[in-house]
Amino acid sequence: MKRRPASIAVNGLLALGAALTLFPLLWMLSVSLMPIGSANSFPPPLLPLHPTLDNYRTLFERADLGRFLLNSLLVSTGITLGSLACNLLAGYAFAKLRFAGRERLFGLLLAALVIPSQVAMMPLFLLARLLGIVNSYAGVILPALASIYGIYLVRQFARAIPDELLEAARIDGASEWRIFRSVALPLLRPIILTLAVLTFLTAWNDFMWPLIVLTGKDHYTLPIALASLAREHNQDIELMMAGSMVTVLPVLLLFLGLQRYYIDGLLLGSVKG
């Protein structure tokens, strides 16, 4: 009987926490469906009296939101596919292929992990200018095509592949590329999905570098477009909430669909150092 109050307290607190984390998101959905001007009243309405998709229509027809959505999809997909290829190859090599200086090189990469990315940004911008990729998709994609953290994750995972398996394939005369493709990759499947979700979400949500390198509207990704809209349309709550919905929804759905893989990656990277 003593457990009843404790149980109510624990579950009550959890429910309160969940309400606090979800309320802003649900409120965004609700306001995005309100007619222009109706959210700015007192008391602030919770649900739309006359739900409408007008705000979404306005954003797609007049604010070019479709273009930004496509830009975001293009950039994030490009980064995900490209960095998946680079990180898988490198992570596997650091775990399973012997070459001179391997450990020292990997140690160097890990040490570089302490350098915040902003330190590189000023020269990176000059480099982008030199390469002619300022204000282009390539300007966002190229620098993100490999990540030390991604290589580290793959390496951690690939170390569990038994050497005998690879050795057996070598004795059978398979090339290293063949071994990677037919023996290692199938075993790396879980980490591929994990890395794909992590990379896609990071790329989608990235802000500072795209803000710097995308100097014109044409190539804006959703977060950059949203930040710029927020400065122009400060008063139009309903419009801004519809824009936020379009920005958040794809990543939320992706996360809900693949949460197991996302959380596995988060734990693999931080606890089992």
Binding site: R3, V10, N11, L13, L14, A15, G17, A18, T21, L22, F23, P24, L25, W27, F42, P44, L89, A90, Y92, A93, L97, R98, F99, A100, L105, A112, V114, I115, P116, S117, Q118, V119, A120, M121, M122, P123, F125, L126, L127, P143, A146, E176, L201, N205, F207, M208, P223, A230, M241, G243, S244, M245, T247, V248, V251, L252, F255, Q259, I263, S270
Partner: protein
């Protein structure tokens, strides 16, 4: 053996080239850049570029705005990190409790802000904390509290941003701490219960000490992240009111990419980097002394 070596280099080459060209070389170049007076004229023609030694660093350290920004950043770190960790730990303990129901749902619900696009939720935050029509003031009104000018009052803007950061980030460490809790030996708790130890005593004398190393790692990582405060004030307050939410990284962005003082901005980057390293080192030493490797 030889074959493996060649393959090793070929397999790592694409990633290494990307990391070297787009990260490591720029970092080295940034140090060089911080020793020059690179500005908008140099952007037009490199003939306007001069070597100035450590002048930029001297300028930064004599800039009142830099100290102001540093103060705000430290405020954000010193208040934000413990609050975030407290929220993460509380949530993890609740989720770990044997009394908790619908764990799967609660875990996802509490984690959702972490994956939500920062810019989008920052925009939501701006409206929720609006003085006249915002929900926060409306809800406080039920308790007889008068409307508060959250984002317009220089004393309250930073606390509001800290609240936002806690809301946005606590789920991340919650997951890591929860995983840490799940591997703690159950026998210890059995023994403690047999001895009649209260839940609070178990938390203080078993859970927290055993979770120490994880807590240490998580606080260092959170702190490093919080030193890089930028997007939150950029969207929520634009550094205002009265520059009260201007952070070091925000200052770097303005100097570098609004005024094109890339030399000065690079110096700011290195000062921030050095500071982060120093604080990390101190925290780790403190942790080691208490026995967390």
């Amino acid at each position: 053996m030889r074959r493996g070596a060649l393959a090793g280099w070929i397999f790592t080459a694409p990633a290494l080239v990307v990391i070297a060209v787009f990260f490591l070389l720029p970092v080295l170049a940034a140090f060089g850049l911080s020793l020059t007076d690179f500005d908008i004229y140099a952007l037009a023609s490199l003939r306007n570029l001069r070597f100035v030694g450590l002048d930029n660093y001297a300028t930064v350290l004599h800039m009142p705005l830099f100290w102001k920004a540093l103060g705000h950043t430290l405020y954000f770190v010193v208040a934000g990190v413990p609050l975030s960790l407290a929220a993460s730990l509380a949530a993890a303990l609740l989720l770990h409790s044997r009394l908790a129901r619908w764990k799967g749902f609660f875990r996802v619900a509490l984690f959702t802000p972490v994956v939500a696009t920062l810019i989008a939720v920052a925009v939501i935050w701006r409206y929720l904390f609006q003085t006249r029509y915002g929900w926060v003031n409306y809800a406080l009104g039920w308790f007889g509290i008068h409307p508060i000018d959250w984002l317009g009052d220089p004393r309250l803007a930073m606390p509001t941003i800290i609240l936002f950061a806690v809301w946005k980030n606590f789920g991340y460490n919650m997951i890591i701490l929860l995983a840490g809790l799940q591997v703690l030996p159950a026998e210890l708790y059995e023994a403690a219960r047999l001895e009649g130890a209260s839940a609070w005593a178990q938390l203080r004398h078993i859970t927290l000490p055993l979770l120490g190393p994880t807590l240490m790692t998580v606080s260092v990582l959170t702190m490093i992240g919080y030193f890089q405060l930028f997007a939150e004030p950029y969207v929520i307050t634009q550094g205002g009111p009265l520059q009260s939410t201007l952070s070091v990284l925000y200052l770097l962005y303005e100097q570098g990419f609004n005024w094109w003082n890339l030399g000065l901005a690079s110096a700011i980057a290195f000062v921030l980097f050095a500071l982060t390293l120093a604080v990390t080192w101190i925290l780790l030493r403190f942790g080691r002394r208490r026995g967390y490797a």
